[in-house]
């Protein structure tokens, strides 16, 4: 049975913070490039949904049999994340949802588990999503090197764009970076030793094991998409494997996104796949508590694969964060009191189809599409005669206000009445858009966000953002 990748997707937050801006805030020497920063309405779950939406574009979500979510920054310690992602992506109920957590190589572990589920016949298509929003300590180089992002791969046996040809796994009880359940920031002990024995030694062992198992030779490999502690380590790694560090190593995205934790290797790999040709050998390598290495060979189907926004698309949507203060506000590092509305898990559960799936009603009598799931039609007052429809994901701003009485962060909140392409009217906060750019008739698309944390739990839902930034 040929098992491999049917589709891919990625998500990189629109906000980028130059490392020199961060360094200037602390009086530290600047590092080159910039990092991606998740906004205050984003977390590992919302970014995973975005990557999932990108990956599943044009694919019927009801054909997916499972979601494996990999993260080290799950919003909940108790309560799963993959089920939330599945709900937002409008997947079936009779699917397998599982969280692969705590290890930096959780993404590749989830991939391997997805492969095994398909190989065993227990699932046909499994969506693997890796996402992380890690915090480096303030006034540290980690804070500059880290970045936020998510990547998604749909594994199946259909219309493969890349076949999984082999893997090799190393397990190692090695204390590299860690974060106890009470720690807010990632901790490190000795980076040099971590580089040499945690990253280099384990990754090398996995890659050598993979080469021996698959009999692929260095010259036959197009690109290696590998995780890193710091990007210089990749040069040494390439040399040890007999690879050309400048031609055969994939762009580590260090200068544009940063180290995105357990989603990093997948994000680098998705970006590599996005630019690959048919018939190429691509290697994915991830370290953390050991290492995983996987060999994929791209197929002819890749040449006709429909365009994804992926890493390049999201990198092109860029807004610079002007200050460290805003980063600190986005990541909720300041002590500002945040007032949340009251919330009820009871109401949210009852509303799940309207809020998470963003379903509306289409009147069977007059055809009007409306939101939320009303009982009596706005158009003809017919009662309970509707078809449940998943509302259009794009529309136009009908009217709006930039509301300073509902501020999120330091700017007013653009608040919009949107007319969706199917005619439904919805009320949405706009995100990822400077307030002065909002205008009537602006084309917008839906984006999944953390709306508020009222009730002490996460209230997720949809906002809108400009289609073109």
């Amino acid at each position: 049975m040929r098992i491999g990748i049917e589709s891919y997707g990625a998500y990189v937050p629109v906000y980028r913070l130059k490392r020199e801006t961060m360094a200037a805030a602390w009086g530290l020497p600047a590092m080159p490039g910039e990092r991606a920063v998740a906004k205050e309405d984003e977390d590992s779950i919302t970014m995973a949904v975005e990557a999932g939406v990108d990956c599943l574009a044009g694919i019927d979500p009801k054909t997916v049999d499972g979601v494996y979510f990999a993260t080290t920054t799950a919003p909940y310690r108790e309560k799963g994340s993959a089920s939330i992602i599945a709900s937002a992506l409008d997947l079936r109920r009779d699917i397998l949802t599982a969280d692969f957590t705590d290890s930096l190589k959780a993404g590749t572990t989830a991939l391997r588990a997805a492969h095994d589920a398909i190989a065993s016949g227990s699932a046909g298509k499994v969506l693997v999503v890796a996402s992380d929003v890690r915090l480096g300590e303030q006034e540290s180089f980690n804070e500059m090197m880290f970045g936020d992002g998510a990547a998604a791969l749909l594994l199946s046996t259909d219309a493969l764009i890349a076949q999984l040809r082999g893997w090799y796994t190393v397990s190692d009880d090695f204390v590299g970076p860690w974060r106890k359940d009470t720690d807010q920031f990632v901790q490190f002990f000795e980076a040099k030793m971590e580089n040499q024995w945690g990253h280099a030694a384990n990754t090398l062992e996995a890659l050598k094991g993979l080469a021996a198992k698959t009999k692929v030779k260095p010259a036959e490999i197009q690109k290696v998409a590998a995780s890193y502690i710091e990007p210089r380590g990749l040069v040494e790694l390439a040399k040890s494997l007999g690879l050309d560090p400048f031609k055969q190593m994939a762009d580590p995205l260090f200068l544009t996104v940063g180290n995105t934790g357990c989603s990093m290797p997948l994000l680098i790999f998705v970006n590599t796949l996005d630019g690959a040709q048919a018939g190429q050998n691509l290697v994915l390598a991830a370290h953390g508590d050991g290492a995983d290495a996987m060999l994929f060979t791209t197929t002819e189907a890749l040449s006709s694969f429909p365009k994804r926004r992926a890493v390049k698309g999201y990198l092109a949507r860029r807004m610079e964060l002007p200050s460290y203060g805003l980063y600190s506000s986005f990541r909720k590092l300041s002590q500002k009191m945040r007032v949340a509305p009251q919330a009820s898990t009871v109401i949210n559960w009852r509303d799940r189809k309207a809020v998470m799936g963003f379903y509306g009603h289409k009147c069977r009598s007059c055809g009007m599409v409306q939101y939320p799931l009303v009982r009596v039609c706005y158009g003809c007052r017919k009662k309970d005669d509707f078809e449940e429809v998943r509302l259009a994901r794009t529309g136009k701003v009908f009217t709006y206000t930039n509301d300073y009485l509902r501020p999120v962060g330091s700017e007013p909140t653009p608040t919009c009445v949107v007319e969706l392409d199917d005619g439904a009217r919805v009320f949405l906060f706009m995100t990822d858009c400077p307030s002065e750019r909002v205008s009537i008739d602006m084309p917008v698309e839906l984006t999944f966000r953390l709306i508020h944390q009222g009730g002490g739990f996460n209230n997720y839902g949809w906002k809108c953002r400009p289609v073109e930034l």
């Binding site: 109401i347 409306q370 939101y371 939320p372 206000t401 930039n402 509301d403 009485l405 919805v426 009537i440």
Partner: protein
């Protein structure tokens, strides 16, 4: 369907100063307003057989006890009425119905709100967990959604709106009970910090505390009370409830308020008014935000749709103009303790018709209209009062 016309008389009115009344409680406000109305009518608590009190926020008070306890009005029917910003005028409507039906003889309609106890940054939230689909912008945000659309459709701009604020502050500066007592200039309004774009601070009414009360009976009985010759007659009273979530209604245009149009139409029918701009002598209209007044002026039929900007700019709605709007200063300058506002407007119209306005007096006023619009253009209440000889 029978009309309320000439079935109810206003025989006494009272109201507190509006403003940030840090040193006053709900009890203080209700006692001051109602005892002023007792005094005006020449009655005491023993004369009252029923009462209605308009309050929007649960923190101001719940149930009839909010009125019963301060006044020690025990044992009679008292009902708390809530209908957004029209709560006070809906309390008045319920009181009118009781008198007109003959079930009660002398009743109180009152309204009160004590907002500043919750802090003074905009209106407080409603409280309670609600559906995430039941999401609202802030109060200025609701009307800013209309303003943005009007800018596009009618070609209005910040200056168009500013004329409303300038006029209402000019009026309110003369009123001893108004929250603000100072005029403002066009450029002050245009340049004030934004609250909800395009509305700036001076496009918004004040967040105020206050109370107002009216004592009602039948015109026949009114002759036995202090204002036996100059009591005021209720000519019309209508309320229209539209959607509380206009953003979900496909096709809602945000450039007119259906609730105002529907309530006004019914009130004009009751009062037999054909041309409101000519027949009415003054209007107290809901101007929680400058754009609200412009749209209501159109929807009340005082000028054609889309022309309120010019109509107001040309001075037609100023004191001395063809149809003065908000000579009290309106919500904008007089203040807006939600539940009290409707009753406060009716107190103003009553005193104007009696020729004893506390602020600017409209000369020889015979017929006056009070209008509230609550929520996101959801609940509209219109009352028309007439001089005893009308």
């Amino acid at each position: 369907m029978e009309s309320i016309r000439d079935k109810v008389a206003v025989i006494g009115v009272g109201y507190t100063k509006f403003g940030e009344l840090w040193d006053k409680s709900v009890e203080d406000l209700l006692v001051e307003a109602v005892y002023e109305a007792y005094e005006d009518a020449g009655v005491g608590p023993e004369a009252i057989d029923a009462a209605w009190v308009g309050i929007q926020y649960p923190f101001t008070g719940l149930a009839g006890t909010t009125l019963a306890d301060p006044l020690k009005l025990y044992g009679i029917p008292i009902t708390h009425v809530e209908n957004f910003c029209a709560s006070g005028m809906d309390a008045f409507r319920n009181a009118c119905m009781a008198v007109a039906s003959g079930v009660h003889d002398v009743v109180i309609a009152a309204g009160v709100e004590k907002i500043t106890d919750q802090g003074s940054r905009g209106l407080p939230g409603g409280g309670g967990a609600v559906s995430m689909t039941n999401v609202w912008p802030s109060a200025p945000g609701m009307f800013a959604l209309a303003a943005s659309r009007c800018f596009k459709v009618y070609g209005w701009n910040k200056e168009t709106l500013a004329h409303v604020a300038v006029k209402n502050h000019e009026h309110g500066a003369h009123h001893p009970k108004a929250h603000f007592r100072r005029p403002v200039k066009i450029e002050d309004v245009i340049n004030a910090p934004l609250i909800s774009s395009p509305l700036g601070r001076l496009d918004c009414c004040a967040v105020s505390d206050g109370a107002a009360a009216l004592i009602l009976t039948t015109p026949e009985r009114a002759k036995a009370f202090k204002h036996k010759d100059d009591f005021v007659r209720v000519k019309a009273n209508a309320i229209a409830v539209y959607t509380g979530q206009p953003w979900y209604q496909p096709g809602f245009d945000f450039t007119h308020f259906p609730a105002t149009e529907m309530a006004a139409k019914r009130a004009y029918e009751q009062a037999g008014i054909k041309d409101p701009a000519k027949e009415l002598d003054l209007v107290e209209c809901h101007d929680c935000f400058t754009v609200t007044e412009l749209l209501n002026v159109q929807d009340l039929g005082l000028c054609p749709r889309g022309q309120a900007g010019d109509f107001v700019r040309e001075g037609n709605t100023r004191h001395g103009g063809s149809i003065p709007v908000n000579v009290s200063g309106g919500l904008k300058c007089f203040g807006h303790p939600i539940g009290a506002t409707g009753c406060r407007m009716l107190v103003e119209i009553t005193k104007q018709l009696q020729g004893r306005a506390d602020g600017l007096q409209v000369k020889d006023a015979k017929l006056g209209l009070a209008h509230n619009l609550g929520g996101p253009y959801s609940v509209c209440s219109v009352t028309i009062l007439g001089r005893n000889d009308t």
